[in-house]
């Protein structure tokens, strides 16, 4: 049948000629190719010391953001936990007391906020669900660890550093 | 020079005791070939037996024969033996049941062998097993010269024999294809 695109190529399979059957020229050209690679600059990156630049939409470790005055933005609404397809997020809400206005922006805040990094699939749905712009996946690659319990990150690891420091 | 002679005698004695030790080992391994239940073990003992033969050749200063024994028997033929036995995977179940006739024939054959050995022992006279008349007899040069002058005809005939065997093997291997 006539090809519509006109891009079809007919492939001829000729029997190998003597030089091709002798196999050695092919080996030599193969050796030449690998020999060229021997002197080529390596393309790998020595990871812990060197880091490749992340792309703009890279999603790494979560961070809980603070507002302009250094107060935690999270109000423990639980939408992130609800949106999480991997069930990685859990939290316990608490009411803000008098005198804590400089710590928490809203009247309710997350007393405990935990993300299990072994469950997390870094999909970024929590980031999209958050109405307070409190959680962003803008961190580094989550480092490896020896124990499962060490992969449950609490507020100590997740909350952004205070502004005044 | 008496000192040198003493040294030589010492060397000879040491060689003799080595010879007896190796001879003992050859017989031991040869017996183990027969008495071990597992055929693969038998072959391994046979390899050791051949290895002791190689040492015998070295003691006789027949380096070429030693190495050839080493390459051909230990390195090639026994590898093939082992190869086949490993593929067959023989165990006690697959051992064929021997009929009484076979057992009877085996007994007679064994007795004949024993008789021959006993008879040959009776005729045998003590000889010096390690000392050769011409110590360079076993070296490559000496052997080559003898093979290609004095024994040229038998040498060529044996090569013809080997060639025939080779052609026969090829013929046997390809026979089925031509018929089919």
């Amino acid at each position: 049948m006539e090809s519509l695109t006109n891009r079809r190529k007919l492939i001829e399979s000729k029997p190998l000629n003597f030089l091709e059957r002798a196999y050695l020229p092919a080996i030599l050209s193969g050796l030449r190719i690998t020999g060229k690679h021997f002197f080529r600059k390596d393309v790998t990156i020595r990871y812990p010391e060197q880091k490749r630049e992340f792309s703009e939409n890279f999603r790494g470790q979560h961070s809980l953001k603070r507002d302009e005055e250094g107060r935690e933005r999270c109000t423990a609404c639980g939408l992130c936990a609800l949106s999480c397809p991997a069930e990685a997020i859990t939290m316990i809400a608490a009411e803000r007391q008098k005198g804590e206005e400089n710590l928490y922006r809203e009247e309710k805040y997350a007393a405990v906020y935990e993300i299990n990094m072994l469950r997390c699939i870094f999909c970024g749905l929590c980031e999209e669900a958050c109405p307070k712009e409190a959680i962003y996946l803008d961190g580094d690659i989550v480092p490896s660890n020896f124990l499962r319990k060490d992969f449950i990150y609490g507020k100590d690891k997740l909350v952004e550093a205070p502004l005044n420091q | 020079m008496p000192i040198l002679k003493k040294g030589q005698r010492y060397f000879c004695n040491y060689k003799m005791s080595l010879f007896y030790f190796i001879a003992f080992l050859s017989i031991l391994f040869a017996l183990l070939v027969i008495f071990s239940k597992n055929p693969v073990h038998s072959v391994l003992y046979l390899i050791l037996t051949f290895f002791t033969f190689t040492i015998h050749y070295v003691l006789l200063n027949a380096q070429f024969l030693a190495i050839v024994n080493f390459i051909v028997y230990m390195g090639a033929i026994m590898v093939l033996f082992l190869f086949v036995l490993m593929l067959l995977n023989l165990n006690n179940d697959s051992e064929p049941v021997k009929t009484n006739l076979v057992k009877f024939a085996a007994i007679i054959g064994g007795c004949c062998l024993l008789l021959t050995v006993a008879a040959s022992l009776k005729v045998a006279s003590p000889s010096i097993p390690v000392v050769l008349a011409n110590p360079n007899l076993g070296l490559v040069k000496g052997l080559g010269k003898v093979l290609f002058t004095q024994f040229l005809l038998p040498f060529e005939i044996s090569s013809l024999l080997l060639f025939t065997a080779m052609v026969g093997a090829v013929l046997l291997a390809t026979k089925d294809k031509t018929n089919a």
């Binding site: 690998t34 021997f38 | 080493f70 390195g75 090639a76």
Partner: protein, 349 residues
């Protein structure tokens, strides 16, 4: 006198043994490094500068690993296998002339353990014995993959030994001797009587056949069918762990070292190099031969590098292709080479 001689040989054997172990150790490192370079990577670089201590780390790991002998395996032969493999790998170094006769003080040291007059055949015998380690280990493991690997090893080695022997015969027709020392001395310098003195230039086809067979005998890619991972898990060493596995791997690298040394000695002049007489005159009889030893090791290292280069270039043969190559191409070529050598040496002289 007698005792001094024995002591001298003992020291020489010790040094050669040590060197071959170190070379084997660093071949494992070199293999990984060379592979990395061919694949535009860096290779091991954590243990020490440039990862130079990596072999020590690997060795420590090998010794620390759990020793496992399968319950259905034959325990005695299971241990004999790797021991035999490494033994046969090591004894090949005994007949290789490492350098010219060296004078230290007033004693003349022969840099060769023993110059038996059937040296080439001895090497050949050792090579043919090498297959037993693999076969016994593979059979004793009582594992189908191991047995298949062992059987492949056996048939491969037998097939390629024939071609290897025939390619050497053509060389021996030129040299007229089986002693490796004499063969090396005949290749003295680089240029003699209006032609190159190295045997490679007299036997190019023979060398080609020999190096292909050497790849097959050392079970290196493209002929590493006995241990081909994609089909047979680990081949004959599937069931091995700990240092017994280490011995098998070590044996492969020592075999590579020995066959590189043999190739340099038989075809590339061994310790001979262009202008060696002048250098020997300048440096005297102690340091001059050492330069020759260094040259020999340079050649050996080049061949080891070549082994690795080929490994990371050419894919593995299929089994029937391997047998076809051995029996239908290499052996006829080797016989043709013998006939050709015979004709040339009869009519040209």
């Amino acid at each position: 006198m007698e005792l001094a001689f024995v002591g001298q040989k003992f020291i020489l054997v010790g040094i050669i043994f040590l060197i071959s172990l170190v070379v084997a150790m660093y071949s494992t490192y070199a293999e990984r490094k060379v592979a990395a370079f061919f694949q535009d990577r860096v290779g091991p670089n954590r243990a020490g500068p440039f990862g130079i201590l990596q072999p020590l780390a690997d060795g420590a790991k090998m010794f620390m690993k759990e020793e496992i002998i399968p319950t259905r395996a034959n325990p005695f032969l299971f241990i004999v296998g790797p021991s035999l493999a490494i033994l046969t790998a090591c004894i090949g170094t005994a007949v290789i002339p490492w350098g010219q006769k060296m004078t230290i003080g007033s004693t003349v040291v022969d840099l060769q353990v023993t110059d038996i007059n059937v040296g080439v055949l001895y090497l050949f015998g050792v090579v043919s014995l090498g297959v037993y380690g693999v076969m016994i280990g593979g059979w004793a493991s009582n594992n189908k993959y191991s047995l298949l690997g062992a059987i492949r090893a056996a048939s491969q080695n037998i097939s390629y030994e024939v071609a290897m022997g025939l390619s050497i015969i053509a060389l021996l027709m030129i040299t007229g001797t089986l002693s490796l020392r004499e063969i090396t001395e005949q290749q003295h310098g680089f240029w003699k009587d209006g032609y190159f003195s190295w045997n490679f230039f007299k036997q190019p086809l023979g060398f080609l056949l020999f190096i292909v067979c050497a790849f097959a005998e050392t079970n290196r890619t493209p002929f590493d069918l006995p241990e081909c991972e994609t089909e047979l898990v680990g081949g004959y060493h599937t069931e091995y762990s700990s240092m017994k596995l280490g011995f098998y791997l070590f044996a492969e690298y020592i075999n590579m070292f020995v066959s590189s040394a043999v190739m340099s000695t038989l075809y590339f002049g061994g310790y001979n190099y262009p202008g060696m007489d002048y250098v020997n005159e300048q440096l005297g009889n102690t340091w001059g031969p050492l330069v020759g030893v260094a040259v020999l090791f340079g050649k050996i290292i080049f061949f080891i590098f070549f082994f690795m280069w080929v490994r990371w270039t050419i894919p593995r043969f299929r089994y029937d292709q391997l047998m076809d190559l051995g029996w239908k191409i290499l052996i006829p070529l080797a016989i043709a080479n013998i006939v050709l050598t015979g004709l040339v040496s009869t009519f040209l002289r």
